[in-house]
């Protein structure tokens, strides 16, 4: 593995080497996928909703700069301060600047994939500010000093025994405790203290409304609301693509989001923020970090419609069996595999290949992103720009030569049927043949399909 290049097959192999855990992980996600299916089936106009959501997002993306300006105007009129950040570094500096100006020591943060993407926590910690993630799953991974492995279920890869150990060490719970209710209660007590002490709250944004200048944050735990209703300072960080034109569009998205994510009819809290609280301050940071380039690409701009429901992760046979960490990117799974290479094709070249092209992600996506087609497009682009490893490149080139010439294809088929059964194992199953790692070749038929067909149909 080259340094700095992510190698999904390698990481996935590590994950499945613990076969029991891999099966457990697979099952946990399939359970969520089942709940999503039941929720989707309970809404007769599900497909109509998906299509409407797709159209709203396509429209919003086609007028993105106008809507961003409108949003800024309206939000400012309501008393919020809007900031623009070109990249992660600028985002982090803006957030730090606001905190510093406010004399903030302690921050509570609710789930935001954007701040993960920007690595905000380590940045603030370096500057002496304490950041506490308050979503239970996020808090668990924060205490274990690892990144989330899923965009909706950050600790889906961790077993309750491990949570018990972690809480025993950090929160002083009883040794050996594994009861989720007991552990959740301990986290509630621990985080209540942090909420009470915090000088500022940071949240992500699920939807920002151009027409009104407000935004919506969805959670189940109530951590976002508690975090920004006690201290006077609220900072909301959002990617540019979160803009929707009208408040009424939320009717469509809120019907889809939680049902797709966890099978709930709606999240427990869907909070609408318009301007700061009386006596408080509200800052909104709009972040580009590669999004404008994506918006300009006709091939890939649809990936910006993603509402981060996680359904494509839960359904993906590769994600379920390789775990979120194997992707080594803030957003893993199918959608992550099309977002990551747009940011760094060199580093993430292996991700679009972590896919069987089964198409299940595309079927469940609430905004109808053609995810598996995008993955295929990425493969082509990565091949064209020379980002494939040499084994894949040469085998593809060879296949191209053979498949492009009928006579050669027939000859090669015949030769294989005769030669392959005679070859010793080490020539067939070796590190060059990734396909053969967990698979055996079928016995070779004596005649090709073409020959058999001709014989049966008397020609």
């Amino acid at each position: 593995m080259t340094h700095g290049v992510s190698d999904h097959p390698q990481k996935a192999a590590e994950f499945i080497s613990d076969s029991q855990r891999a099966h457990w992980h697979d099952g946990a996600l399939w359970f969520v996928r089942d709940k999503r299916d039941a929720a989707a089936r309970s809404v007769p106009e599900w497909e109509q909703l998906r299509e409407t959501a797709r159209q709203i997002k396509a429209h919003a993306l086609s007028r993105l700069p106008d809507y961003l300006e409108e949003f800024e105007r309206k939000a400012t009129a309501l008393g919020a301060q809007v900031h623009w950040a070109r990249d992660a570094q600028e985002h982090n500096e803006i957030v730090y600047g606001i905190l510093k100006a406010g004399g903030v020591q302690r921050v509570v943060k609710s789930k935001s994939m954007l701040t993960e993407e920007c690595h905000l926590n380590p940045f603030l910690e370096q500057h002496g500010i304490e950041v506490v993630d308050t979503d239970l799953g996020e808090r668990i991974v924060q205490l274990r000093q690892e990144p989330p492995s899923h965009i909706v279920l950050p600790a889906i890869h961790i077993k309750k025994e491990e949570v018990g150990e972690c809480f025993h060490e950090h929160l002083g719970t009883e040794a050996g405790a594994t009861d989720p209710a007991y552990l959740t209660e301990a986290a509630r007590q621990h985080l209540r203290e942090r909420f009470m002490q915090a000088d500022a709250g940071i949240t992500g944004v699920n939807f920002a409304i151009a027409e009104t200048g407000g935004f919506v944050v969805c959670t189940n735990e109530g951590n976002a609301d508690l975090g920004v209703s006690l201290p006077n300072l609220h900072i909301a960080c959002m990617g540019l693509e979160k803009i929707i034109p009208r408040a009424a569009d939320l009717g469509v998205f809120l019907r889809l989001l939680a049902r797709s994510a966890t099978g709930q009819p709606i999240t427990t809290y869907s909070s609408h923020f318009h301007g700061p609280r009386a006596g408080g301050a509200l800052h909104i940071v709009l972040v580009d970090n590669g999004r404008s380039a994506l918006q300009q690409s006709e091939e890939h701009q649809r990936a910006l419609s993603c509402i981060r429901c996680g359904a494509c992760l839960n359904t993906c046979p590769v994600y379920r069996r390789s775990g979120g960490h194997s992707y080594e990117t803030p957003v893993p799974g199918p959608i992550g595999s099309i977002l990551a290479p747009s940011r760094d094709p060199e580093k993430y070249a292996s991700l679009p290949f972590a896919c069987s092209l089964c198409g299940s992600c595309t079927d469940v996506c609430p905004v109808k992103i053609d995810i598996h087609h995008q993955l295929l497009t990425w493969r082509r682009e990565l091949a064209e720009s020379g980002h494939l490893d040499w084994k894949k490149r040469w085998s593809m080139r060879l296949a191209g030569v053979v498949l492009g010439r009928v006579w050669l294809y027939r000859f090669a088929g015949k030769a294989m049927r005769i030669v392959l059964p005679l070859l010793p194992r080490f020539l067939k199953y070796n590190p060059l043949n990734a396909w053969g790692k967990q698979r055996e070749l079928p016995p070779m038929p004596r005649k090709s399909f073409r020959e058999q067909y001709r014989r049966r149909h008397g020609k």
């Binding site: 668990i140 889906i156 959740t184 009424a248 869907s270 909070s271 580009d288």
Partner: protein, 200 residues
Amino acid sequence: MESKQTILQALRFKRLDEQPAPSLQQNWVATPNAIATFEKMVAAVGGNCIRVRNMQDGLAKLPELPCYADAKKVCSLVEGVEKANVFLDDIADPHDLEDVDVAIVRGEFGVAENGAVWLTDRGVKHRVIYFIPQHIIVLLDADQIVHNMHQAYERVGFEQAGFGVFLSGPSKTADIEQSLVIGAHGARSLHVLLLENGGA
């Protein structure tokens, strides 16, 4: 300022063909009986919906609810609650609401398809009252239940600064091995008292 111009320029470098915005006036399915569906959905999301005749009966019902009966600190946004002893308007710092056991609040309307109630900070000095108490009791007029979220957004306006939340059930998490636990950071229980004859 400079970053804003850079970003907008990048987004406008190549003009994208405008895609039409879809109409939201579509034939969305209505539930056959909004009130019954709402009751069912409140239960499905972990809450408890109780029908009472009117406000007076609703208030009379309170002592039967353990979260009210056992409460020491009661904050009510509704007139006439006997045990009320925390008054939002007298409180300067929202942190002082930390030990409120139960809050009794008024819902503007409910949504049948997901059991959510719409709560706002209009006339409510500290919005944290919806999140910080151990338990929440919402009083809601039964004739204020809409079928779905499309109808819900026809009712809400965001012309002025303010806060509003769709609250659907008590606070919950399933972050430890997908086991549902009620009472994450917000309310541990949610009761909706449905007033059949409206606020009369």
